[in-house]
């Protein structure tokens, strides 16, 4: 039965071996589910968050995976709207990764809020001024778009394809793909931006507060830019990783190089605007409310090095590596650039969430630290395990990389 489900023309490992490889991930999933039960049953006192550290590992993780998952909408936009057909070979994988990132983020959010059953209030009676309301709307709608984009990939399964009605449905869905890609891009633009805006609007937190540009705080645009810069790099990395783990050639190298190039160009643009933003913030926005750079970077371990690391080593350097054609052509440099780009966006989200809450705003408050509990870590690992499991099954039974068959026969 298992063999009949595997994509025609490609080979996959033995079923027993496949399941054995997944066992550790299922164990992680199980531990995470138990931690989730504890939090739902006894409350958020099972975390190390507190009245000042109101956001912790989960919110950081949400922001990071949503940024990395931006590869899904951005690749879709490039393929369906800008007609960059070389990305056809990674779009299916990108959609699955996007779906995993977004559904995983929502799962973590559901545990993170105190009364998850009331989350529908936001949709029913939203506060139009709230960035979080915008995030909620766009996230839930975009997850629906991703689910609809996932359906045709599932229907391409060898067995399911034999059902004529499914085939017709898949064909019809395919026709609306450009529209879905456009809607997805619009929704993603707003929620990536709103996630940045969420912190940029906090006029009570001078570390996070930024100047307004066209109604939104500057972080709105910086989050969009950094997400679309790192997204292709993340698709590149995951494709390479899957290829290594499975021992198969999945896409031709020029596709990975194109992803790297786009990432590089966008990173350079991002670094340019991020530098201007940081200068304006440190010299104008923040001093205007009585906070100097020393107030933000005077607390170990969060020195000015963290800003330099983010902008130079994890921004400018990968940008330069990825826009250089010679360097990009060498796999080791291409991967280094992509890893640094993803690490850069992850660090940016860390600074935005964790550093903001660590720093004291009240003149007599202390600098605080926070370490997640085992329950928080277990739920974080659970989301990763869920992603690995879903991706592994999708890779085994669905045509995630259309070029694979061709490369396999070669």
């Amino acid at each position: 039965m298992d063999k009949k489900l595997i994509v025609r023309g490609v080979t996959r490992m033995e079923f027993k071996k496949f399941i054995t490889y997944l066992i550790p991930w299922f164990i992680l999933l199980g531990i995470g589910l138990y931690a989730m039960y504890l939090v739902f049953r006894y409350g958020l006192n099972h975390t190390n968050m507190d009245n000042r550290f109101a956001f912790g590992l989960w919110i950081y993780f949400d922001l990071a995976i949503i940024a990395l998952g931006a590869g899904a909408f951005f690749t879709g936009l490039l393929l369906y709207v800008f007609k960059r057909h070389e990305f056809k070979s990674v779009i299916n994988s990108a959609v699955v990764i996007g779906f995993i990132c977004y559904s995983g983020a929502i799962a973590a959010l559901v545990v993170d809020v105190g009364q998850p059953l009331r989350a529908w209030f936001t949709l029913y009676r939203p506060n139009a001024h709230s960035m979080l309301a915008e995030v909620t709307f766009c996230l839930s709608l975009y997850l629906t778009v991703l689910a609809v984009e996932y359906v045709p990939i599932v229907m391409k399964n060898r067995k399911l394809k034999q059902l004529p009605s499914f085939l017709v449905f898949e064909f019809k869905l395919h026709k609306v793909m450009p529209l879905l890609a456009g809607v997805g891009a619009l929704l993603s633009f707003f929620h990536q931006g709103s996630l940045g805006g969420m912190f940029g609007v906090l006029n009570g937190q001078p570390f996070a507060f930024r100047e307004t540009v066209l109604v939104f705080p500057s972080t709105f645009f910086l989050f969009v830019l950094s997400a679309i810069a790192a997204g292709p790099s993340f698709i590149l990395l995951t494709t390479w990783l899957v290829s290594k783990i499975s021992g198969k050639r999945l896409v031709t190298k020029d596709v990975l190089m194109s992803l790297g190039k786009i990432s590089g160009i966008l990173l350079i643009i991002y670094v340019f605007f991020k530098s201007i933003d940081s200068l304006v913030w440190l010299n104008k926005t923040s001093p205007a409310v009585g906070f100097s750079a020393a107030d933000h970077y005077g607390f170990a371990p969060f020195g000015i090095w963290i800003l330099s690391l983010e902008i130079i080593l994890l921004g400018l350097v990968p940008g330069l590596i990825l826009i250089n054609k010679k360097l990009r052509a060498r796999t080791s440099w291409l991967l280094t650039g992509a890893v640094l780009a993803c690490a850069g966006v992850a660090l940016n989200r860390f600074v935005t969430t964790i550093q903001t809450l660590s720093l004291p705003t009240l003149p007599f408050a202390d600098f605080l630290t926070y370490t997640p509990t085992w329950e928080e870590t277990a739920i974080f690992l659970m989301v990763i395990a869920y992603g690995v499991i879903l991706y592994s099954f999708s890779f085994r039974y669905l045509p995630l990389f259309p070029q694979e068959r061709e490369l396999h026969t070669k």
């Binding site: 006894y42 409350g43 958020l44 006192n45 968050m49 507190d50 009245n51 000042r52 550290f53 109101a54 956001f55 993170d112 809020v113 105190g114 009364q115 998850p116 009331r118 989350a119 209030f121 936001t122 009676r125 939203p126 506060n127 001024h129 709230s130 960035m131 979080l132 309301a133 909620t136 969420m198 609007v201 906090l202 006029n203 009570g204 937190q205 001078p206 205007a288 409310v289 009585g290 906070f291 100097s292 020393a294 903001t356 809450l357 705003t361 009240l362 003149p363 007599f364 408050a365 605080l368």
Partner: protein, 262 residues
Amino acid sequence: MNNRNKVTQDNQKHPRYGMVVDLDKCTGCGTCSLACAVENNQQPATPDMTNRTGNTWMRMYKVHNGKPFPDSRAVFVPMFCQQCDDTPCLYVCPQNAVELDPMTGIVAQIPERCFGCRYCMAACPYESRYFNWWDPVWPEGMEKTLNPDVSPRMRGVVEKCNFCHGRWQRARAKAASEGRRELREDEYIPACVECCPTEALTFGNLDDPKSKIAKLVDDPNIFKILGRLGTKPKVYYRTTRSWVRNAVDRNIYSETKETVHG
């Protein structure tokens, strides 16, 4: 249009309640915190709670001047919701669980609407919002101390000081029964103000020039903590000691900080 908006549109003058905390009078006895907890049915602390996870709407900070004996000085700073007019927590709440009441100027938290995302807590510069990390439990017998005018909050929602909203409701009901629409100055005062043994807290209508608080606010020694953030708090602090002012107020730059001695 709801009724509340209608009320703001008529020409009736509504009070704008605020408070002044005299740091020179405060001894840090904590009576205000206790009175607040009892009045507002705050959940009793359990051994698992820490000073960062417990619920204290009225929180007492001890601030030192950082000098060794004999120059060592300390001041107690009661910190609670500053009832900002430009309310950072209100703008961010996705569920409309925070409201700035135009009838009183008080920032209300509606726990029944709150779903515990804690975005408002991240937005509050005063760290004056508290999350219910635990299910509230009153030890046997202690439930008799519950105030019937205030609903206890459930686990997983945010709460904060509301200038004893239950007292305001009661005072309004009493005034209405006597055919009055407006409250007298002494008719509505929060529990902390009533209980403060040194009269360090003054409460009243900031817009009424005859009120005690309006006169106090004109004092040159009055300031707002983090006033430059632009959140327009309605809670003022007062001190005549320059080192205290420097230690608790961001309005003064670090250059002046070095020249001031306790």
